[in-house]
Symmetry: C2
Subunit: 198 residues, 2 copies
């Protein structure tokens, strides 16, 4: 089944309502797929979301805890952050992992690329599995107040299934790595580490 | 490990930069967790995202295809839409499933509740597994130009793993239902249907 290549929406004009270093809010005057005039507001992201799930030789991962201002709630998530659109996502992933956790990874494998909230935004998330880890010194962003928690991957999975990890990209990534472990699709070093952690 | 209950951010003032029926863009003057003045912009959602993965007696599900204007790309996703914040999410789920696919479900089970893009927004997504299905007439929203595709659940999973389903909540939901199937945690009727579809 092929997807229709042609955009059935027509954009008549675009106004920028707000702009900051992370996003631009655009109000588009459009014709909808039925040809009727409408407005469509789009939040254009100037950065992509980067998330990294590290697995060490003991089958442990690391979660980052922080109070999410927009959500008004505390949240535990795999390490991550924003990557410039013109930077290789893998380069962003290595940097974010090192900044937040102090870990450097010999291997990074992209396991998902996700569209986040595609009714309103064009945000993209790139998700990496990281292994072959070496511990260094974390250098978190000064605006962040982060806590780190090292725990067996199976515990992170259990937290996800209990609804204690709720951030959408994090949940997708944890479930994807679990699926890769069960199907044997994960890299041999990661499979061995996850078995060692059981 | 208990989460810090106290919000380390302080909001000094809030201005509304944009408002429409679906969202409100707020610019907050804040003190960050280190006590330093900053601005934090929040996209407040006036609706929650609702997603429903139906499984019929043959182990098939239904995907909805549409051109996503904000993303500028075609997207296949489980049925869903927006639910009012003051409506029971399960009521929204039953309605969205019926409107988009014509299906009514005897059983709806919430399988995930997700925070979507929590760096910028307070959007919440509620994900349901639906079974015990009866086919009626779809009544899609006039602004939508939707295509429907019925396919075995294992095909929807394969599309997800091949990167042909990329919407974050959809990916999380498909992987969650797969995890429930493999662990035997899915309802017996769903397990039997998925086995029948293999």
């Amino acid at each position: 089944m092929t997807d229709p290549a042609v955009n059935p929406w027509r954009t008549l004009s675009t106004a920028i309502l707000h702009e900051d270093p992370w996003m631009q809010l655009r109000l588009n005057e459009v014709l909808n797929p039925h040809g009727r005039p409408a407005q469509y507001r789009v939040v254009h992201y100037k950065v992509r979301a980067i998330a990294i799930l590290p697995i060490d030789a003991d089958g442990c991962t690391v979660l980052v805890g922080q109070y999410r201002y927009a959500l008004n709630r505390y949240s535990w998530e795999p390490p991550g952050g924003g990557g410039a659109l013109d930077e290789e996502p893998e380069v962003s992933a290595a940097r974010e992992l090192a900044e937040e956790t102090g870990l450097s990874a010999r291997h990074l494998l992209q396991v998902l690329r996700l569209d986040v909230s595609n009714g309103i935004t064009d945000e993209q998330a790139y998700c990496y599995l990281a292994w072959g880890l070496e511990q260094g010194q974390a250098k978190p962003d000064e605006s962040e107040a982060l806590r780190l928690r090292r725990l067996p991957f199976r515990e992170a999975l259990a937290m996800t299934l209990r609804g204690e990890i709720t951030e959408a990209v994090s949940v997708a990534m944890v479930l994807r790595v679990q699926q890769m472990a069960l199907s044997g699709e994960a890299p041999p070093e990661v499979l061995a580490a996850l078995r060692a952690g059981e």
